[in-house]
């Protein structure tokens, strides 16, 4: 039993990302993802599943869900929170999977990281699109000496910010159910 517990702690701590490891970790996994994509040109769905496995550990989906709801998060019951978290992660992943259809062999390269403050670190990566450099910024926060992603800026637009404005408007004028049903329609372009 103890062994199992120890193994579990080791396994978890293996995912605990430290600041100085972020750049390498991300570049390594990005390269890995691009390889997966190149090998699975016809089946982007299964490729997406493999990519999620690489990154799931560093994405804090729960926090992302919470941030997307902003002040409305406090108003949800525990059951609703659980239901929402699930739906949110699924929607996010579905959007990503759909987006992969448009992938055309571009190369994403980690450029540099910037420590915004004690608890924030933004990692900028870039890719060439039609001869123009476009940026994707992964936003990390620090939790118990571990760094996790809470938002991604795609070509200058924060995904969480655009979720916040949409969810806010839905909940201002509708119910939690409306939000859930609409969540499935929201696909990041």
């Amino acid at each position: 039993m103890r062994k199992i517990l120890l193994l579990l702690i080791v396994a978890l701590s293996a995912f605990a990302l430290h600041l100085d490891e972020i750049e390498n970790f991300m570049q390594k996994n990005i390269d890995e993802s691009l390889k997966i994509l190149q090998n699975a040109k016809d089946d982007k769905k299964s490729a997406a599943q493999d990519i999620f496995k690489l990154f799931d550990g560093v994405f804090d989906y729960e926090l992302m869900a919470k941030l997307s709801l902003s002040k409305y998060y406090q108003k949800l019951s525990q059951d609703e929170v659980a239901e929402f978290n699930k739906a949110f992660e699924a929607s996010l992943k579905k959007s990503f999977t759909d987006k992969l259809e448009l992938y055309k062999d571009q190369v994403l390269k980690v450029e540099s990281g910037e420590r915004k403050n004690e608890k924030r670190y933004f990692l900028t990566s870039s890719m060439m699109v039609d001869g123009e450099k476009k940026f994707i910024v992964f936003k990390f926060y620090k939790e118990n000496d571990e760094w996790l992603i809470y938002d991604v800026d795609v070509l200058g637009v924060s995904i969480i910010q655009t979720y916040r404005s949409q969810f806010g408007d839905i909940l201002e004028n509708g119910t939690f159910k409306d939000l859930l049903s609409k969540l499935n329609d929201i696909i990041i372009k």
């Binding site: 926090l63 637009v157 655009t162 408007d169 329609d185 990041i188 372009k189």
Partner: protein, 815 residues
Amino acid sequence: MMAFFLKFLINHPKSTFLLTLLICVLLSFFAFKLHFDASAESLLLEDDKDLKIFRELSKHYKSDNFLMLAFKPSDENPFSQTSLKKLENLHKELEGVRGVERVFSIINAPLLLSSENKDLKELMQNIPNITSKDINQSKAKDEILTSPFYQNNIIAKDGKTTAFIIYLKPDLTYIDLISARDSAKDEDERERLRTQIQKHQAEQNALTKALLTQIRTIISSYEKDGARLYLGGVSMISDDMISYIKDDLALYGISLVFLLGFALWYFFRSFALMILALFICFTALSSASGLFALLNFPVTVISSNYAPLMLIITLSVVVHLITHFIEISRLYPNTTQKRLVLQTLLAKAKPSFFAIFTTMIGFFSLIFSHIEPIIKLGIMMSLGIALGLILSYLFLSSALMLLKRQNFTQKEFKLSFLLWCANVSIKRKKFIYALAFITLILAFVGIPKLKVENSFVNYFKDGSAIKEGLLVIDKDLGGTLPLDIIVRFKTAKTQMKEGEILDSFENEFESLALKDTYWFDSKKTRIAKKVHHFLENKEFVGSVLSLNSLLSLGKSINNGKDLDDFALAFLNENLPPNFKQDLLSPFVNIKQNELRFSIRVIDSNPNLKRDTFLKNLENELNELLKNEDVELQITGIMLLYNNMLQSLFSSQFDTLAFVVLAIFALFVLIFRSFKIATIAIICNLIPLSLVFAFMGFLNVPLDLMSITIAAIAIGIGVDDILHYIYRFKEELKHNGVKKAIVNSHLFIGTALYYTTISIVLGFSVMMSSNFIPTIYFGILTTLVMILLLFGSLFLLPSLLISFYTKRNNKPKLLR
């Protein structure tokens, strides 16, 4: 004093005549500097808060001032190769006109769905139009015909007529000058800026005129092969109005010379007297015009009426004087010319002064309208007719002296008719009262039916080029009257009290949300859609353009799905600037946190009740947006015009109350009797109310000109009553009431006829105008003058008989 002064003039006829003439010539010289102002803003309320808002909002959005040119090709197919070629050439030519900022038509309309190239990114970088090489022509036609941006805007719903929207370079100097004037600290500074504004406007008018001439020349070269082109737009309407004013003034001048000349010949049978009377009237007019130019009074659509009004009123003074002169020269054939002239001028001094004074009060009351051009008309007329009276005296005192003594004759009217009038008023009082009572009932029923409407289309005659153009643009291309709805979002302030970690995240996202990138979000697009759909389905609304038109375009590119917040932020961040400029900036102002819905209202719809429409629109929009935490503003020329007319309508009471009270007070002073003053006022008001009742029953709307009728009619109309009562009191000294009535009828009947004929002839000239409000003004004023004459000949004597006895007024009246 008066006699001394007049004697002096009569003793020095040559000097008086020449000196007066010299002053008149000097003043008239400035008349050439009189400037014409028919800009939309010349008719607006200066202190209207909506006008300030309108000017402020004009700065927020580009391309406010535009012309529309409708094009109906001979084959009625704008998409045929020959038509497209012509449209392309026309587009280029219009772009080359000086003063045109840009032109928007189906030639350069961006097409996103008609290209063989499906890649959105590439499309955005090089947006194709119908002339692009890889465009699919039939798809392009479909896209243009169904596009939310283009349909009912640059292409008619039936696809047979297309339009060019010609955006004119904005006149920023004018806006700056206006705001400098509004914020000027002292009156000197304000006056200096006013002069500067006038100068600038004159330059601007000349530029607009040149621009319109050039566009019209281009148009005519395209009309040769059977295509039909129609030009419309606020700038064009005001330019046409300026032309109309100038044409009207020229026409009034020429036709009044003949008409009044003929009337004067008919009355006096003397070439010399006819020329003299005309000379005095026209010299008074040109001198007054010079005076107005010196005082910096611009001639607007409304104040242009000063010309015929001045001629008519001065003429009535001159006619009264000459009639009296002829009468006494016949009565006393052996008296010297000097005595005759002096006697005439002295005898007529009081009634002429009071007649002019009451008319001045009538015009002066217009200052209560709070409308700049109407106030100006009031002041101009008050000054003008005072000048007319002075010049009449100066010229007549000298010119009659210089004329040879001769036996003048005049056309005699049948006295039997006047006798009949006098008898009817004496013997059929009940019948006359019954008529007056019926008139009052009609007034009570008809006057509440009066309405104010300001249809631009109806300002112009059927068949005129301007009306035809406005109708095509109105019916096929989305309406002529621009109106804007502004929805302003309040800056969101969140009050969060949560855990520390969420706080720091919340702060981060709250500040991120304030970035322009995220300005387009679900709430704003939802509101844009809601308001747009509401406006689209509103009766009388033609074209509606807003952010939602762009969203619909985005939806069609996005396989029929609405753009989400990410897509909106993404597009906002990555759209090419020129695309944003053309399609976004007219409808969105991120800095001001506003959305603008640019609508055009179908002006020619006869069921459109503008005030009700605007009120309903505001109420319904407020209801629609009540929980959205936004501010709503309706603005645009349509609203400002409506405010102006509504204000006129409501100030009509103030104006009338002032005229009636002032004239009543004056009557009390002149006649020293409340009873007579009351009778006189009643005899004025009853005929006047009948005209307004007619307007109510016949659905003739009050407009910017007919609204001045009441004040003017009372002012001019009391003259008859004044002259009559004066005579009546004179007669009372020697006769009983009934005899006094008969004698008064016989004595002043001729003068009343002369003046009424002159006035009716004068106002009838207005019926020849191309401007419908002027025509209505002419007809209605003529009607009111005739009714007022009836009031003087029938109602006044009846009331005098019933309520006035010789006993209660004997010696203290007139001497």
